[in-house]
Amino acid sequence: MVGRAPHVCKTKMFIYRVSDITRHLKDLLDSDELLQDLWVAGEVSNLSRAPSGHLYFTVKDADSQLACVMWRSQVARLAALPKDGDHVILHGYITIYENRGVYQFYADMLQAEGIGLLAAQFEELKARLAAEGLFDAAHKRPLPALPRCIGIVTSTTGAVLHDMLNILRRRYRLARLLIAPSAVQGADAPRQIVAALSALQAVGTVDVIIVARGGGSLEDLWAFNDETVARAIYNCTVPVISAVGHEVDYTIADFVADLRAPTPSAAAELVAPDQGELAARVESSRRRLLELMRAHVQQGRSRVAAEQRALLRLSPRLVLDQQRQRVDDLWQRARAVIGHELLLRREHTRGLGIHLQALSPLAVLQRGFAIVWRAGGREVVSQVQQVRSGDALQIQVSNGRFAAVVGGDGARKRNRHGGNSEQLSLGLDGE
């Protein structure tokens, strides 16, 4: 229609507005798959950074050039700003900037060219999936403590599987291993890995999956940087351990997995505890049981003992005993008081005795006096007139008596002291 000569068909001529044709071109470009997901390599020139933070530059090679824009948000993710003359790899899409009617490359990623295309793609996918939240720690699930069925996605050719089986056989024999064979390198590997993952999930009993591959070059490991593999791991219904390459190799699968193991052998150790540790756990529980039981019985015993003591305190026998003791106490006190009284009396009595003795005539006899009794011992002779010559007398001295007879006329000589009556003087001798 547009191509027809205007003068041939004047009535049907259609005149487009500039914006219409620009819109048409934009639609054409936007619907082109290649232009919407594009990697471009070239040299940076005319670089300028607008006050808004957006980056405007041109990439060129020997024959042509391409106007580029990078928005501030993507610029912020760059490790370093490019400068004129840098050889770079860009990822982005091409569309028309309608205001000026120019086509431009809108870059969302920029890498120094030296890094290689694979690395650049790796960085792009990593940044994109990270922005989408696929690597978020919140999404990481804990591994089952004691897995019962471990799924392994790997190649059955090679030492990797063999090593993992050996390690598990040595450390943890409580699980069933389910191997889902898959190519782990080459163009078909991503599809096979995704299929193996879904086959393991379909089994239903698998409670953890290891995706493993031995070491190799960046290209060898490339299947694990595939977006479909990353999403399959992210969407897996059970926890996934990635174990790809050597310790230094990081793949997208590592970032998206619930746990990254540095090597396949390490994955075989991380997926389950050592049986020896489990045996130790059982043993410690068993000991704890014994301890607790012993403590329980001990506690019971001491409670019984405490109750027994309480019971004893309340026993009537104890009350009786106490009364008995009280009686004893009273008795003791009474005895003490009485004893004291007795002692006092005894002392007093003894004092009286001594006094009495001092007054006793017997004490006088000790000093040589004698008592004269008329015979018969009933009458003490204290006057001369009481006796006559020839009377029988009894003379009492300190240690006994003896008989005597009154001589002469006792009455006659009664006033003469010191007279010579021998019998009489007998008694008075010594005075």
């Binding site: 024999r173 069933r176 089994v203 489990l278 756990r281 529980s285 049981l289």
Partner: protein
């Protein structure tokens, strides 16, 4: 509970210890727990001693379905392949 797996037995054992630890149990309950725990510990050890790693491989049938195929001992894990990679 005759067919307890090791992990079930271990979980029950540790739960039994916890309950006994919590205390405040009548003596016969404590004794019952203790006997149960002792039995579980024995069961755990038996399971550990008897455990043998079982290895199966998923094989795809021509119809596209997956079937499990049991592998036996070390020799079955890829004898013809141990040379490469």
């Amino acid at each position: 509970m005759p067919e307890l797996s090791f992990e079930e037995a271990l979980a029950k054992l540790e739960e039994t210890v916890r309950r006994l630890e919590a205390g405040n149990l009548p003596l016969d309950e404590a004794v019952a727990l203790f006997e149960e725990g002792t039995r579980l510990a024995r069961l755990c050890n038996e399971r550990l001693d008897a455990a043998e790693l079982k290895v199966s491989q998923l094989m795809q049938t021509p119809g596209g379905e997956y079937v499990e195929h049991e592998l036996y001992a070390d020799t079955d894990t890829g004898d013809e392949q141990e040379s490469d990679q």
